[in-house]
Amino acid sequence: MTIPFFSKAKRGEEQPHGKLRIFVPKDAAAVACGADAVAAAIARSASQTGVPVEIVRTGSRGLLWLEPLVELEMGGIRHGFGPIEPETVGNLLNAGLLRGDLKALSAHPQSLGPVDKIDYLARQTRLTFARCGVIDPLSLDAYRALGGYKGLEKALSLTPAGVIEEVSKSGLRGRGGAGFPTGIKWKTVHDTSAEQKYIVCNADEGDSGTFADRMLMEGDPFVLIEGMTIAGLAVGATKGFIYVRSEYSHAIVALNAAIGIARKAGLLGIDVAGSRKVFDIEVRTGAGAYVCGEETALLDSLEGKRGIVRAKPPLPAHKGLFGRPTVINNVLSLGAVPFIMAEGAKTYFDFGLGRSRGTMPIQLAGNIKRGGLFETAFGVTLGQLVDDIGGGTASGRPVKAVQVGGPLGAYFPRALFDTPFDYEAFAARDGLIGHAGVVVFDDTADMAKQARFAFEFCAIESCGKCTPCRIGSTRGVETVDKIMAGDASEDNLAVVKDLCNTMKFGSLCALGGFTPYPVMSALTHFPEDFRRPTQRLQAAE
């Protein structure tokens, strides 16, 4: 699929004369695999040999099994090598990285050829992540060179209602998991009159198996800033908050730096891009509470309180942060907005199917051969994602189960691999796409243990406001323990099902309400894991 945006994205910045350009990610996942040491080794070697080299630290391309992925730019084409770990960077340097000898380098065992041609990347439709891994995340010039701030420019040429109509027509739905139409949310806030309104970005990406928010905030923070600015202008909010989980220290640093740069450039503050409109952003850090990913708990946390879920109504769009009308959107929803504004709602809408329009940055994780970020139009099947794109398990063993949508998502067996990635299709099979994390387990997984963990996690993270979640989760752990010990299994299975039913329909928010998804899917699709021989429980003497 070629659209104008892509051809621009491939061009990159101009190469300074006579200087070799080498790209090394500073994304947290790359850093965890040694990217800082790799970049330092390259710089050291360059200074020893006197070769003029510019090392650009980028975000990640999302080809995480290849991280750290080192790229050498030659003749405007970026050639990849990966994974290059601190232990193996010497090999790459010896092979002639700094001599730019492509012929010799192409024989290197970690040579990947032109990065744009790598199948995993070439098959994607990168709209939101077009720049991630390509540019220096804090270079406003690089951001602008690849289409950045065109969306804001367009938005400023429209009326607020016109902007909202564009977002509505794009079919964008909340990427945090709930899938609520973004345009409707914005319109509600727009139509509610108040002296002060807020934009809140939910960057409390707590779901295991998800890292798209983190990658975008680290790799292209300006796209989020631009998206929030457009939202602010559209609904009449002058202040935005990004609530980032404390585990994402790299993202917090990147966002604060980017916000400072945007302010200096007049893109945030009292006169946004010369429009005389006011909008500014503040980053706030969470404190390790999973439930704060739930929007109303997040709002309480932003107010400096315990992250306790609020009953709805009132909706945050009417009474949100500090009781004011508030747009609360996920990082990926806001990050999609600049593309929608710049390229038009129709361009975005034309991707996808049914009521799931545009692209979804899917995250392949866990026990998977080629884990990473795969942004693609809705409609790709789970089987394609796991087997074809992801290459099956990392361990080489058969896939047993795939959990889609984080700790509150269902476990899918291979029999359901024909399910297309689409909000409604997953719901029809008692699952959810959530924030599009896909965690693969091989045949050594014990699904009774996974069901127990789902209850246990809910018990640890429950805010405690509603009884089904607070008590149900703990009773769930106890009951699964009995089942795992082979104690009166059938009766206990009935208790688990009953608890799940109560939690699903009686909980105040998705934490208690969705915990039954992993539990019941494990029970439904893998009943053999719950039939255990009777063990004598250790007597408490």
Binding site: T210, G288, R306, Q363, E461
Partner: protein, 155 residues
């Protein structure tokens, strides 16, 4: 009696944030960064500075997993135990760390050198199992890498 140094530190940090009650989480993060934990005596001091009740501040300190009410060990090793890392065998690594340190996950070794804690997701889910030693991220954890981390921490 003069107020303890920790209380003064907490009040100074609150003042930096304009004594805004909505900044309580940020203030507590800073208190913990400077003192190493959130000492009991800072709770009434912060309540007073922010015009909150002691119960409200206490509630926040105890609600969030990040805040410590006692000092941690010399080094803090956090090991991810969420699903993506489970799929890559993190539980066996946690057991290994527990046996090397002689404590259960969630506590500090007897010599006070290492605190071992669970963490539910570092967002490094395609390069697991993941861990964090004193804020430094480590991916693709193996038994050998774990042993090296523990050695570095002096265990």
């Amino acid at each position: 009696m003069a107020p303890p140094e920790t209380e003064k530190t907490a009040r100074a940090i609150a003042a930096e944030f304009g004594n805004r009650p909505d900044a309580l989480l940020e203030i507590l993060h800073r208190v913990q960064a400077e003192i190493g934990y959130v000492p009991e005596e800072t709770v009434p001091a912060l309540a007073d500075a922010l015009n909150l009740s002691r119960a409200e501040v206490h509630g926040v300190v105890t609600f969030y997993h990040d805040f410590r009410r006692a000092p941690a060990g010399g080094h803090v090793l956090k090991m991810c135990r969420a699903e993506a890392c489970q799929a890559m065998g993190c539980e066996a690594l946690v057991k290994r760390a527990e046996s090397r340190l002689g404590v259960a996950c969630g506590s500090t070794s007897a010599d006070g050198r290492v605190t071992l804690e669970p963490i539910y997701c570092l967002g490094l889910c395609a390069t697991g199992p993941s861990a964090m030693l004193d804020g430094r991220l480590v991916g693709r954890l193996t038994p050998a890498k774990l042993d090296a981390l523990l050695k570095e921490a002096g265990a």
